[in-house]
């Protein structure tokens, strides 16, 4: 009986090996098609969740390249909303170019922003605007 089933088992195993992607990183953040935008979700190293809507996603050697991010959210207790001309998702970090971020009363523009495990880092030229309500 086992000998009869053995070829079938081997064929099924071979098919299974081909069907699953090799990179676990991509498996956890496969894009969904939604209207004309591509919706993508992922987690930074350290388990912080993000989600974006982008015009396009290109899978390249260095990571997933995102074009025209119109709605991005980093899901913190006080969420960070962002837009960017482009981005790269690789090794648990999200690198944004031509980015604008908004969290609470703070707005930030920067040529480049890298979202990592516990921090957002800003590069190039930029501007921070704090909206302060008070006696001033």
């Amino acid at each position: 009986m086992i000998l009869r089933l053995l070829p079938l088992i081997l064929v099924l195993l071979a098919l299974g090996g081909c069907a699953f992607p090799q990179e676990e990183l991509l498996l956890s953040s496969l894009p969904e098609s939604f209207g004309e935008k591509v919706i993508m979700r992922g987690r930074l190293k350290g388990d912080l969740e993000w989600s974006i809507a982008a015009d396009r996603i290109l899978w390249e050697e260095e990571g997933a390249r995102l074009v025209d991010i119109s709605e991005g959210t980093l899901h913190l207790a006080s969420p960070i909303f962002f837009q960017a001309a482009g981005g790269i998702w690789k090794e648990g970090t999200l690198e944004l170019t031509g980015a604008a971020l908004k969290t609470g009363d703070v707005g930030i523009r920067a040529d480049k922003v890298i979202l990592r495990e516990h921090s957002a880092e800003f590069f190039g030229s930029g501007k921070i605007v704090l909206e302060v309500a008070g006696d001033a």
């Binding site: 913190l76 920067a110 957002a120 880092e121 800003f122 501007k127 921070i128 909206e131 302060v132 001033a136």
Partner: protein, 170 residues
């Protein structure tokens, strides 16, 4: 309902709000700052050029800023300059409470305001008023004044001293 909406609109328009802007210039691969996602602290350290902060009619330049989102306080340091319409000052460190409109400059403070020039340990700026404290020396057109605590009214240009002071004529 319309009255309530009109009242809310007037209230929102009348509510004082201040936009503090921080301008930074740098190269694409050189970081100028970061935001701690857990603690809510911004740390800004430009590498090539000091940052420019504008808050209402004040202009501040410095090399380093730490802004704590929860407290609304900014700690600014590194060749700090603080300038308004009627004065300019320099110091080592500045504590800025943007919401209260209070700025405390510390460490080898120098000030130019109208006819006065001053050196002091600390300077506190609130709209229309400057206080200098610690060991202070005020250079006047007529001579110099040494003491511990002076207040300069920027609107009237008057100088008020507290405690013992020594006046030296030219």
């Amino acid at each position: 309902m319309r009255r309530i909406a009109a009242f809310l609109l007037v209230f929102l328009l009348a509510m004082p709000a201040l936009a503090v802007e921080i301008q930074l210039e740098g190269e694409a691969d050189v970081p100028w700052g970061s935001f701690d996602l857990k603690e809510g602290i911004y740390t800004i350290r430009p590498q090539s050029k000091p940052m420019t902060i504008t808050a209402d009619d004040l202009v501040i330049t410095a090399w380093e800023l730490e802004y704590r989102e929860k407290e609304g306080l900014a700690l600014i340091q590194g060749d700090v300059t603080l300038a308004g319409e009627d004065f300019s000052a320099k110091g080592e460190r500045l504590r800025a409470d943007f919401a209260q409109g209070e700025y405390i400059l510390e460490g080898s403070v120098s000030l130019t305001a109208g006819d006065f020039e001053a050196a002091a340990q600390t300077l506190t700026y609130r709209p229309g008023l400057i206080e200098v404290a610690g060991f202070c020396e005020i250079i006047l057109p007529e001579g110099s004044l040494q003491g511990q605590h002076f207040q300069i009214d920027l609107e009237t240009g008057s100088l008020l001293g507290f405690g013992p002071a020594q006046l030296t004529f030219k």
